[in-house]
C-alpha cells in the first residue's frame, strides 16, 4: 500500500488578481515519480513552486488552502525548513557561478553555515555526484568552476546540489527543456534511480517525457487539475475529454 507524502486540499494560488491555480486536490505517493503536464500558462509551475513555498517570493503572490507534507501543514512551517525537506531543480541549470563544482554540491551546507567535518563533506560530495551519474566525469576537476561544465552536466550538478541536502521530495521545473536530447535522456534515467530514495514531482510540457518517466500523471488545464491517475491509464484511457484532446494533440 502506497503512503501519501504530499497532500493538497482546495489549494489556490494567485498573482495579484490573476487566479492561476484553482482548487487543486491531490495526493502524492511516496517514492514515486509524478509528472505534472499541461499547456503553457496552466498553472503547473506555479503549483510546483507552492509546494516548497517558492511561489511567495514573487511580489503580489498569494495562496490559500491546505498543503501538507507527512500530514504537517507546509504553510505553518518555516519556509526554510520546508525548502530543506523539499529540494528543487529549475528549468535552466543554475549552478552558483562563483563556486567550484565541489562547493556547488556542498552549497546547501556551506552557504547555510552548517559545518561538516572534511571527511563528511567529501563523502556527501562523492555520494551526491555519484547519485546523479556525474562523479566519473568531474572527479578530477572538482575545483573548477561549475559554469565550466556543459549544460547537461550543469543540470545534473544542480540535481546533486539538491540531493546533497537529503530532502524527502525533489521538485523539477521542466528540468530538461534547456537540454539537448542526449542530456535529456541521461537526466530521465536519473529519475528512475532517484525515486528509490525520494519522491519526484516533475513539471513538463513534454507529454512523451511524462509518459516515459512517471508512475502517475497530473493534467492541469487553465489552473484546474483536470485529471490525475496512473500514467498508463492517463495515456491510454483518460476519463476527461480535455485530457483526451491534450494527449492526442488537439490543443497544446
Amino acid at each position: 500500500m502506497e503512503s501519501t507524502i504530499i497532500k493538497s486540499r482546495n489549494f489556490n494560488a494567485s498573482f495579484g488578481s490573476n487566479h492561476v491555480v484553482k482548487n487543486v486536490n491531490i495526493d502524492i505517493p511516496r517514492n514515486k515519480v509524478i509528472a505534472v503536464m499541461g499547456p503553457s500558462g496552466c498553472g503547473k509551475t506555479t503549483y510546483l513552486r507552492c509546494i516548497n513555498r517558492m511561489h511567495e517570493l514573487i511580489p503580489g503572490a498569494t495562496s490559500s488552502g491546505e498543503m501538507t507534507i507527512n500530514d504537517e501543514n507546509i504553510y505553518q512551517m518555516h519556509p526554510i525548513f520546508v525548502r530543506l525537506k523539499i529540494g528543487m531543480v529549475f528549468q535552466r541549470p543554475n549552478p552558483f557561478p562563483n563556486l567550484s563544482i565541489y562547493d556547488n554540491v556542498i552549497a546547501g551546507y556551506k552557504l547555510n553555515g552548517i559545518r561538516l567535518p572534511k571527511a563528511e563533506r567529501d563523502r556527501v560530495v562523492e555520494h551526491s555526484l555519484t547519485r546523479v551519474a556525474l562523479w566519473n566525469e568531474v572527479k578530477d576537476s572538482l575545483t573548477k568552476k561549475g559554469s565550466f561544465l556543459s549544460g547537461g552536466q550543469q543540470q545534473r550538478l544542480c540535481i546533486a546540489r539538491a540531493v546533497a541536502m537529503e530532502p524527502e521530495v525533489l521538485l523539477f521545473d521542466e528540468p530538461t527543456s534547456a537540454l539537448d536530447p542526449i542530456s535529456t535522456s541521461t537526466v530521465e534515467e536519473l529519475f528512475h534511480e532517484l525515486k528509490t530514495n525520494y519522491t519526484l514531482i516533475i513539471v513538463t510540457h513534454n507529454m512523451q517525457q511524462a509518459a516515459r518517466v512517471s508512475d502517475k500523471t497530473a493534467f492541469f488545464y487553465l489552473g484546474e487539475l483536470v485529471e490525475y491517475d496512473e500514467t498508463k491509464i492517463m495515456f491510454t484511457a483518460p476519463k476527461d475529454s480535455r485530457t483526451q484532446n491534450y494527449i492526442t494533440g488537439r490543443f497544446s
Binding site: P59, R83, L84, M88, P97, N98, L111, C158, A162, M165
Partner: protein, 282 residues
Amino acid sequence: MEIRSVKYRIGKNYGFKALVTLFAFACVIPLLFILFFILKQGITKINWHFLVNVPKPVGELGGGIANALVGSILIIFFSSLIAIPIGVLAGIYLSENRKSRLAYWSRLCVDILQGVPSIVIGIVAYFWIVKPLGGFSAISGSIALAIMMLPIVVRSTEETLKLLPSSLQEAAFALGMPFHRVIFKVVLPVGISGILSGVMLSIARITGETAPLLFTAFGNPYLSFNIGKPMQSLPLLIFNYATSPYDDWKDLAWGASLVLLLWVLLLNIFTKLITRKWKVQL
C-alpha cells in the same frame, strides 16, 4: 543621373563617417592637454622629499604635501566607512524591491542628491555639523563627501544586482537559505566586481572635491591625524596655494595637482583591472 546620385550619396556617407570619427577624436584632446600641461608643470616638483614633508613658510625652499596626502587619505577613508555600507545596503533594497513605494522615493531622492551642487552640500554640512560641533573638523568633511559618494554607490550597486539573473537567487532560496545569507553568500560575491567598480569610481569622484571641504575640513598647514580638528587635503592645498602670490607655493600646487591627477588615473585603471579580474562568468 542614377549613378551620379548614388555617388553623391556615397560621398555624403563618407563625409558623415569622417565627421563622427573627427569628434570621437576630439573627445580625447582635452584629457591629453590636461595631462600634458599638468605633467609639464608638476613633474619637476615631485620627488620623495615632496611627498614626505609638510609645506615650508614663504621664502624657505623645499617643503612638500605630506599633510595634504595624509589628510586626503584619512578624509576619504572615513567617507568610505560611512557611505559604502549605507550605499551598498540601500542598493540591495532597491534591487530587491523594485516596485515598492519606498524604492521609488528612495531612488528619486538619490538621483536628485546626485545633482545637488557640491558647494551646497558643503554649506549644509557647515550649518548642520561644523557649527553645532563648534569648529572645523576633518570628520565633518568626511560626512560631506560621504553624502556625495552615496548616490554613486547606491545606483551602481542597484544596477549591478539588477543584472544578475533571478535564477541565482532562486537556487539559493531553494536550498533553504535565509535572505541575509542569500545576499551575503551568493548575490554580493557574484556581483562584487560591479559593486567595487562603483565604489572606486565614487572615491575617484570625491578625491578632487574642493567645495564641500572649504566649509568643513577647512585646511591645515601642519600635519594632523586628528579627525576632530581641521585637516589639509590635496584639493584644498591646491586651492589655497595656487591662489597665493608666491611662486614656490604655486609650484607646490602644481606638484599637488599632478599627484591628485595620478591618484584619480590610477584609481580608474585599478577599477578596470578589478572589474576584469573579479568578474564572475555567469
